[in-house]
Each structure stands twice: as structure tokens, then as C-alpha cells.
């Protein structure tokens, strides 16, 4: 695929340093996002560090092969949460990341408080069957994971032999387990978000889902060390630098794509916070000393990261290669610009003139050294705003909003139905994206064809206004055209939340759902983007992150963005192999 050139005007010329929704909310732009220091897992680690959180294994009941259960408890935002992990042997034939799987290497629930023996026992059966189980609101998150068998076995074998794992193998895979689903917000009877969001910290987006994944990561280290120790007959510990390089893998499909369309106020909160952060950074006339000092190291890290980012997909690998090449070419310019007036505005503008991918890469880098300037924006990234139709709005006001925010809905382009449609498969109710046709009934199609709905609305509005006054209300119009109720509701919402609409065709044969996935995953903080198709990807979460026992205000952010390869840290590994902290009970 060709790398998309950015044709938008340099945003430093508009004086406000704020990119317009028409520029940002394109699939090509969203599909180039990188994680930033405002990503949710970064926010979690900062809050854990601030809380001086320290997890403890309150139960560790594993046999020599690592099958059994364990409970890991941690305090966050004033509450105690516990990860209950159940593991069982799994045939290779049954190991699939697809959501239709029915067995996994490990199953997890995040429990509200510390479970007693009865809680653990009663939750075991439903946890093992995941979607087929029923839960109550003591369960806050439900998840499962499969091993990277080759790396897990390699790590165990090496540790049991008194050695550390091969760094290349660690770098290539990047995780000991990968989650294949993380469910929250009331699914299968677990607690609703309204229960979870007890205070501002817990109300942060996907807060407990991120915590669950972080605790699963701790569990994977403990499990590998446990099995190796049982094999060796002595305590075995994975070196700290290797632990930090290992994240949790995640296989993600289309399930998260419609979320972005169905939660426009929340999407707006995420993107607007990011854009506000960028605007603040770019408005700096001179680089702060700390940012200026950190800049060369950040550029080096990004260069290393791009070079090490190898994935099997040919087209995506070529795209990464183009980005790496563009970055290396521009790196001297970025190095010099940091000492010039309005350094980051110039850096972003220069990157923008090269490619969308380079622009988004440099945004992540530009935000990184500016914590004191932008971290407060994390408080604006939650939104529980719903969508309520305002019937007293005049048609003139509605038309003005359409002109402002939906000019991209070209009637010539969107007059005909889309070639594709989004629907929900009977297999675990998962969204899918397929060629549209008569085999779909109207109630099968998810209403993600916003552009076409807007075009149809505009056509009926024009007819209506030929014979009626623009001062008439939306309610009056809807009496004659009730089919437009949903889209009018949405248009009204977008007038307030302009970054809440993906301004692109979501039902075209050219639509790449993977762009929506990458956008959402970047807000989670995922890296190692490794698409397996344009509908499904693997990523890593928490790669490069400090472990629980290392978390302090200083370490929570250190070296996190674009983590360096373990071979860069090889010297450190040898020094730290004796470092065993928070050991698993024997």
C-alpha cells in the first residue's frame, strides 16, 4: 500500500496550534496513531506509583507444571482488587486466539476485594468457560490468555538451567501470554462501569481492564519462575530488564471497531485531550530544559524501535520501512529544530510535510517529555455523556451543524449504499465486516454508515425546506421523517463533540477496519502493532513497563515509549539475574 502524503495545511499557520477534526478524524490519520504518555496504561502506572501500590500473592496454589490457581491483590485508588488466575493444560489443537475458542491456557477474573476460598471455588467454573458463564457484580473484569508456548517453554528451560532466556527470542515474541479477550462493563453479569467508576481515578477509561492486564503480566512472570523453580529444585528468577521488555500480547479483532462509532462523546474526549496536549506543546516558544535534554535520547529510542519493529505482513512491513527511512532522513532536522523558536510546532509541521505516519510518530515523541505541561489532561478523558435528541432545535440550526461538521459527506460519493456492511455474527456475538448483499436484512446491518445517513437526511431536509420555514423544529420534521431520528441525534451531539465522528466512509470496499483498531489500541497504549489482516491484529501491552515492585514516581514513565530491545540492555541483564523481588511462594 502507498504511504499517504499529508496534504493538510501546516497547522502552525492557523495560529491556534490545534489540529481540526477534519484533519485528525480521518481513517488514514487515526490508523497511524502511536501510544502517548496519555495512553490509559501509562495513566494507570502513574497512579499505581502515586498510590505506592504493592501487590501481594494472597494465594498461590500451583502444581509443578503450573496448573492450579493463584490470587494477586493490589490496592488502587483506595480500593483493593484481586486477580484470580486459573490455569489448566491445553492441547495445541485447542489453542486459538479467535473469540470462538472454548478453552485457554489461563482464565482470569478481577475480583472486588480479596476473595475467600469459597469465592475462588465458586468462580472457578464460570471463569473457565468465560462467555458461557454467569457472574455477579463482585467480578469486575473477565479475561483469558494463551501462552506463547515456544517462548514460555524456552524461558522455563533456561531459568531452570540457571541461565537467562535468549534475548533475540524474547524480543521476537515479546510476551509470555497473550489475552484474547478482556471483558468489562456488565458483560455476562459482571459489574457495570457505574459500579466500577467509584472515584475519579477509577472512572478513567478502561481503568480496571488495564489493571487486569498489568496483573496478568505479573502473573506470567511468577508462573514461569514457579515452573522453572520446580524443575530446578531451587529458586529461579527472570532478570529485571527482561521482565520489563516482556509485555502481554493481545489478539484484537473487529470487536473494538464499532465501539468508536457508538461512543462519540468518549472518542471526542480521548482525541481532544490528545490534540489539546499537542497544542500546548507546540505553543511553547522555547523548549523546556528537561524536554531539550530528553530529546536526543527519545529520537534514538524511536530509531531503534523502528528498526527492530519486524512483522510478517509484507505490506505493513514495507510501511514500517518507509517510516523508518523517513525518520532517519529527518532526524538531523528534528535534532536541530529543538533549539529553535517554537521547536515542536516546527517539528510537527516538518513531519507532516513528509507523511501521516511520520507526523503521528513525532506527536508521540513531542508529548513524551512534557508531563508537567499536559498530564492534567488525563482528567478530561472520561465521558459518560449519552445522546439525547433536542427536539426544539430549529432546522436552520441543524443545517448549520451539518455544514460545519459534515461537509465531508459528499452527496455524489455517498448517494449509493456502501459495498460493505458491519454485522454481528452468531458466534459469540462478535462484529464482522462483510460484503453487503441481499443475504443481509436491514436489522442485521449495524448503523455505521453515518455518511450515507447524513446524505439521506440532507436530501429530505432540502425537500422539506422547499415548502417549510427553516425556523421549524426538528420535532416537526421528524413527524414526517422519523427514520432520521438517530442521525439527527448524532449530528446534534457532534456539534458539541467534534472529535467524536470518524470523518470517513466506514462501509466502503476500501475501508480498513484495522485503522479503527490501531486508533483505539493507541489510546490503550499498545505497541508492537502486528496486523494479521485488515481486520485483526496482535499487539503488546505494557512492554517496557516497570514491574509492580519497581513502580515509583520516577520509574513509572522511564523508558516506556518505544522500549529498547533487550540486546541493547544485555549488559544490565547479567547484572540483575540475582535480583529476585516479590518472589512467588514456594
Amino acid at each position: 500500500m502507498m504511504q499517504e502524503l499529508n496534504t493538510a495545511q501546516p497547522f502552525t499557520q492557523n495560529g491556534a496550534y490545534m489540529r481540526a477534526p477534519d484533519d485528525v478524524m480521518r481513517l488514514s490519520q487515526l490508523g497511524s496513531f502511536f501510544p502517548t504518555r496519555l495512553s490509559f496504561l501509562r495513566l494507570l502506572l502513574r497512579d499505581l506509583a502515586e498510590d505506592d501500590a504493592n501487590g501481594i500473592w494472597t494465594d498461590w496454589s500451583m502444581d509443578d507444571a503450573g496448573y492450579g490457581h493463584a490470587v494477586y491483590s493490589v490496592r488502587l485508588d483506595g480500593y483493593v482488587f484481586s486477580l484470580i488466575a486459573h490455569t489448566a493444560a491445553l492441547d495445541a489443537d485447542d489453542r486459538t486466539d479467535r473469540v470462538i475458542a472454548e478453552a485457554w491456557d489461563a482464565c482470569f477474573v478481577l475480583f472486588d476485594g480479596v476473595p475467600n476460598a469459597n469465592d475462588i471455588a465458586t468462580l472457578r467454573a464460570p471463569a473457565l468457560v468465560q462467555e458461557a458463564g454467569r457472574f455477579d457484580d463482585r467480578v469486575l473484569v473477565l479475561s483469558r490468555a494463551n501462552k506463547s508456548v515456544r517462548l514460555f517453554d524456552h524461558v522455563v528451560e533456561k531459568l531452570a538451567a540457571g541461565e537467562q532466556p535468549d534475548l533475540d527470542r524474547v524480543a521476537t515474541t515479546g510476551y509470555l501470554m497473550r489475552t484474547t479477550a478482556v471483558y468489562g462493563n456488565g458483560k455476562f453479569g459482571i459489574a457495570d462501569r457505574s459500579k466500577v467508576a467509584r472515584n475519579a481515578g477509577l472512572a478513567r477509561p478502561f481503568r480496571l481492564e488495564m489493571l487486569t492486564v498489568y496483573l496478568i503480566r505479573e502473573f506470567t512472570f511468577a508462573l514461569a519462575e514457579h515452573v522453572a523453580s520446580r524443575h530446578a529444585g531451587a529458586d529461579c528468577a527472570l532478570a529485571g530488564p527482561i521482565k520489563r521488555m516482556l509485555g502481554i500480547g493481545n489478539s484484537t479483532g473487529l470487536g473494538m471497531a464499532p465501539f468508536l462509532v457508538n461512543h462519540p462523546a468518549l472518542l471526542n474526549a480521548w482525541v481532544e485531550a490528545r490534540e489539546q496536549a499537542l497544542a500546548r506543546v507546540c505553543a511553547q516558544e522555547n523548549a523546556e530544559v528537561a524536554a531539550s535534554q530528553a530529546w536526543p535520547d527519545l529520537l534514538d529510542r524511536a530509531g531503534h524501535y523502528l528498526t527492530a519493529w519486524k512483522i510478517p505482513d509484507k505490506d505493513e512491513q514495507e510501511r514500517i520501512g518507509r517510516l523508518a527511512q523517513a525518520f532517519e532522513t529527518a532526524k538531523p532536522v528534528f535534532t536541530a529544530m529543538v533549539d529553535q523558536p517554537f521547536p515542536f510546532a516546527k517539528i510537527i509541521d516538518h513531519a507532516r510535510s513528509v507523511s501521516v505516519d511520520l507526523e503521528e510518530l513525532m506527536i508521540a515523541l513531542a508529548l513524551e517529555p512534557h508531563g508537567p505541561l499536559i498530564d492534567d489532561l488525563a482528567d478530561t478523558m472520561s465521558s459518560d455523556s449519552g445522546s439525547i435528541l433536542e427536539p426544539s432545535q430549529t432546522l436552520a440550526e441543524l443545517c448549520a451543524t451539518l455544514d460545519t461538521h459534515y461537509a465531508w459527506c459528499d452527496a455524489d460519493v455517498f448517494a449509493t449504499p456502501g459495498a460493505m456492511t458491519w454485522y454481528v455474527s452468531e458466534e459469540k456475538s462478535e462484529p464482522r465486516f462483510g460484503v453487503d448483499g441481499p443475504h443481509f436484512s436491514p436489522h442485521h446491518r449495524l448503523p455505521l454508515d453515518t455518511a450515507r445517513q447524513v446524505v439521506a437526511l440532507r436530501a429530505d431536509l432540502e425537500d422539506w425546506l422547499n415548502t417549510s420555514d427553516a425556523g421549524e423544529t426538528v420535532a416537526a420534521f421528524l413527524c414526517a421523517h422519523p427514520q432520521h431520528r438517530r442521525v439527527i441525534q448524532r449530528v446534534q451531539l457532534i456539534a458539541t463533540y467534534p472529535y467524536g465522528e470518524i470523518r470517513d466512509d466506514l462501509v466502503s470496499h476500501r475501508t480498513r477496519p484495522i485503522d479503527m483498531l490501531r486508533c483505539k489500541l493507541s489510546f490503550f497504549g499498545a505497541d508492537g502493532f502486528d496486523p494479521k489482516s485488515d481486520r485483526w491484529t496482535r499487539v503488546r501491552l505494557f512492554a517496557g513497563a516497570p514491574c509492580m515492585d519497581e513502580l515509583t514516581g520516577d520509574t513509572a514513565d522511564a523508558g516506556f515509549l518505544f522500549p529498547a530491545r533487550p540486546d541493547v540492555l544485555a549488559g544490565d541483564c547479567a547484572e540483575q539475574t540475582e535480583d529476585v523481588s516479590n518472589p512467588v511462594p514456594a
Binding site: 489453542r95 486459538t96 486466539d97 479467535r98 470462538i100 454467569r134 455477579d136 457484580d137 494463551n146 506463547s148 508456548v149 515456544r150 517462548l151 515474541t173 462493563n185 456488565g186 458483560k187 455476562f188 453479569g189 459482571i190 459489574a191 457495570d192 489478539s251 479483532g253 473487529l254 449519552g386 445522546s387 439525547i388 435528541l389 427536539p391 426544539s392 454485522y423 454481528v424 455474527s425 452468531e426 458466534e427 456475538s429 462478535e430 464482522r432 465486516f433 462483510g434 443481509f440 436491514p442 436489522h443 442485521h444 448503523p447 423544529t473 426538528v474 420535532a475 413527524c479 414526517a480 422519523p482 427514520q483 431520528r485 438517530r486 494479521k532 489482516s533 485488515d534 481486520r535 485483526w536
Partner: protein, 213 residues
Amino acid sequence: MTTVDLSRNEFLSTVQKACVGAGSDSALAADIANACLELEAAGLASLAHLLPLLEAAAHLPARMAAQPYAHSQNGFFTHEVVMLRNGASAMDHLCLATLTVAQCDDLVLLAALIVSGCRARGRFARIIAPGIPWAHLDHAYVVTAPERLVGPITVRFVPVEDHAALGLPPLPARLSVGMAHWAALKAAADAVLVPANDTTRLRDAGAGLNDND
């Protein structure tokens, strides 16, 4: 009666899917789901009201979405399951005028639609109807309605400053729903699902088949 314990989100999303499966658009389906939650808050079995309407809709050739829509100066005249759409429009009109619905299949659910719409908007409606299936009159909250009632029902918008003072019960965080009703609702919700096969798994989900690494 055996019941099932549900999260609020689970209840709302399943009602929405069932309504979409019966032909409703997604915005109306969301309104109906909130109306059902309003009924549950009042201690009424919402699915006893909703399921017959969904059943009726499923047997109408044109289904809910395509039904004609009647409106005149005298109010909305509803028939069959069209009341659900009209109920939503009734909410829309609450700010504008007194509204009279001459007849509909389930005034209790219609009233719930109006009440939930008002709750979401921070406004309130005064509902006047024979038998008072669900009425808020001078803060009185009466839920002693017959199961099904034929109109007319008159709704008058009443602005209020203090929403809580009207005595609306809090929306339930958890719901206990009869197992039979829940099974019927889930079956109705399944209408939105599309059968899968190996081709669609690979092509439309885009997933691989071997994940051992």
C-alpha cells in the same frame, strides 16, 4: 418464578438488540431499553409489556420501522406496534406542546418511554390517563395500573427545577428478571445475529486459524 441476576448494561443491550431485531432503528431501540429500565425501577416487569409488542412486530410484514406514521393537530394516533415509534416522538414533543395519544397497544410502556425521556433531559411530564397506569401527579407516584390499557393518554410538559423532588426512583444497578422472560428476550435479540461459516470466519473476521507460537 426463577429469576436471573443481570447487570444494567447487559439488560439494556439485550433489549436494544431485541428491538432492532423487531425492526426498530437503533436510536428508538435505545429509548425503549431505557423505558424498560424505568419500568423496572418502578417495580414493574418491563418484559411483560415489551415481549408481546416484539412478538406482534415480528409477525407484521413491514415490521416496526416501515409502519405509517399518523399525526394531526389532535395528537398522535397509533395502532399496533407503531406506538413505540410514536412514543419516542411523543418524548420529542414534550417540550413543545400538550400531547394526546388516542390509542396504543401498551400505554404503560408508552408512559415509561416518556418518563425515561424526561429523566434523561432533566425535564418532567405530567401524564394524565384513564386508570392512571403510570402517573406523576403532584409528585404522587402510582403504579397500580392494569397490564394493558387503551387510551387516550394526555401528556403535558412540566418544567421542574429539582428533578429529585419528583420522587422518581433511582434506576436499578442490577436487575432480577424472570428466567422465561429473559430467555424470550434473548431469543428475540438473536434476530440481529448472522449465521457464520468457515468462509465468513476467514473473510469477514479476518482471523487466522492456527495461533500456536
